[in-house]
């Protein structure tokens, strides 16, 4: 549809609140439901509606309501209807606990046009509530899911691989396969970003939940089909990123507004260095002026320049300015955990030899091409050809 030129704003992420009815052990953002200080700072419905109007003027067709738990807001319905009446599709991220029959009826009558995305933390009360740390949340979540099912409201489910629920994975996937709107297996969180506001205590406990890199690689590249998909992806996104900080799409036709009126180029990024005060500006000014200026920022840290800037594994590595800031408080630092995962993965895919580092490889793109194009297939590390995903 946008072959020639896209809308100025394709998608707006609206974090309606940082508060949540759950207190999930892995969550990178949530504050308690009764955090009055946070509640007092949250944007009013009127203010949000004015942002939605500007977003619509800029061509925005999709708004994502996220949080915290967006349904905690008593004015959710008003905000939702405002977006829909402006002709936007709505993606709702929710744990479904706070869905009511009345709200489900509304979602049936005025459909969001996009599948609702429900996070599910366990198939049993004990496992679910060990993750959510909220008594009664299991029953509430399944009641909410039933409300969607009974009305035929399109939704998908997402999981989080965590110690309390990992054994239930087959049950979860069996159940997910019965949901008519699922296109394949559910997606899982497994790398767990540390706390986005850099709460050190929360970050420490989140870090303990991360999968060991070798285990993560079994998840990501555990069979031939997954490896093939990964290689296809890597072939498109390999090569050193150089000193450009933003090699992703952050701030290019999308933006994220936090619960208090600060706009960021991406939903993960909360660094004050890239914050735009929307209360004293406009979406247009941010998209046309502020974000393009941000995207010109160059990485300057020597460690980044010596490693990330020269590493050809960018398609396998989750390092980005947001994660760098979350982990180290600056935008341009390697993130050891993601670096480890990328290297284990690259070895599994035959892109690196034992002990070899991604930034030491001068001809990374050539090496990737050799593994993805059967006509040019090479075997740089003496692995048997039958292990090559291209075969």
């Amino acid at each position: 549809m946008w072959a020639r030129k896209g809308p100025r704003l394709g998608r707006l992420d609206l974090e309606l609140t940082e508060r949540c009815n759950n207190n999930c052990i892995h969550c990178y953002i949530n504050l308690p439901t009764n955090d009055e200080k946070a509640r007092g700072r949250e944007l009013s419905a009127e203010w949000i509606k004015s942002v939605l109007r500007e977003a619509a003027d800029l061509g925005c067709l999709t708004v994502r309501f996220t949080g915290g738990e967006p349904l905690l807001r008593p004015d959710f319905e008003e905000i939702y209807l405002a977006a829909r009446n402006l002709g936007m599709g709505v993606v709702l991220f929710t744990n479904a606990c706070l869905l009511t029959p009345a709200l489900a009826d509304l979602l049936k009558r005025v459909p969001p046009l996009r599948k609702i995305e429900v996070s599910v933390y366990g198939m049993k009360r004990a496992s679910y509530e060990r993750v959510s740390r909220a008594k009664g949340s299991f029953k509430a979540a399944w009641r909410g899911i039933r409300l969607l099912q009974e009305r035929g409201i399109p939704f998908i489910v997402k999981g989080a691989l965590l110690p309390p629920n990992r054994e239930e994975r087959p049950d979860f996937e069996n159940w997910a396969s019965t949901i008519p709107w699922m296109a394949g297996r559910p997606s899982y969180s497994m790398f767990y970003d540390l706390h986005c506001r850099r709460d050190r205590k929360k970050s420490r406990s989140i870090a303990c939940l991360r999968l060991d890199p070798k285990e993560a690689v079994r998840e990501l590249a555990g069979d031939a089909r997954k490896r093939e998909g990964l290689m296809e992806f890597v072939s498109k996104f390999s090569g050193a990123r150089g000193n450009d900080l933003f090699t992703c799409g952050a701030g290019l036709g999308s933006a994220c507004l936090d619960a208090y009126g600060t706009l960021y180029p991406c939903i993960m990024l909360r660094s004050p260095e890239v914050a735009y005060d929307l209360r004293n500006g406009s979406l247009k000014e941010a998209l046309d002026g502020y974000f393009p200026r941000l995207r010109k920022i160059k990485a300057s840290r020597p460690e980044y320049q010596a490693r990330c800037a020269r590493c050809f594994l960018k398609g396998l590595c989750e390092q980005c300015p947001a994660r760098s800031w979350i982990e180290h408080g600056c935008l341009d630092s390697p993130v050891e955990y993601f670096c480890d995962v990328a290297h284990v993965l690259a070895r599994e895919l035959g892109l690196l030899g034992p002990g070899e580092k991604g930034w030491e490889v001068a001809d990374g793109k050539k090496r990737v091409a050799g593994r993805t194009n059967p006509a040019k297939k090479r075997n740089p590390h003496g692995r048997a050809d039958k292990e090559c995903p291209g075969t």
Binding site: M1, L61, G89, P111, L113, R114
Partner: protein, 103 residues
């Protein structure tokens, strides 16, 4: 059975649809259920479709719209009538337009 267009009746855009102009394209976004297949169901109109849509003011019949467009395009009225009928039947089937007028 799909609804048929009456060439001398009046039709208007449904109030359950929002028409949005984005980067020169007219996109029709359903608001309530029962329009299209609901999920990801946005409709875009080509140039001719858009000209027809712009004239759906509840005062001009499909036949009158076709006659105006035939004059604007210097085209054969019969051919344009078929285009108007085809598009309006498609839109009527999806409840994007409804019969009514005089507004």
């Amino acid at each position: 059975m799909d609804p048929k267009i009456k060439m001398d009746a009046l039709y208007v855009p449904s109030s359950d649809v929002v028409a949005r102009e984005i980067e020169g394209e007219l996109i029709l976004v359903p608001i309530t259920s029962g329009i299209g297949d609901l999920e990801d169901e946005l409709f875009t109109l080509n140039e001719t479709g858009r000209d027809i849509w712009d004239k759906l003011d509840g005062k001009r019949s499909p036949r009158a719209i076709a006659a105006e467009l035939a004059a604007e395009y210097s085209a054969v009225p019969g051919e344009i009538e078929e285009d108007v009928r085809g598009l309006l039947e498609e839109l009527l089937k999806r409840r994007i337009v409804v019969e009514g007028g005089g507004r």
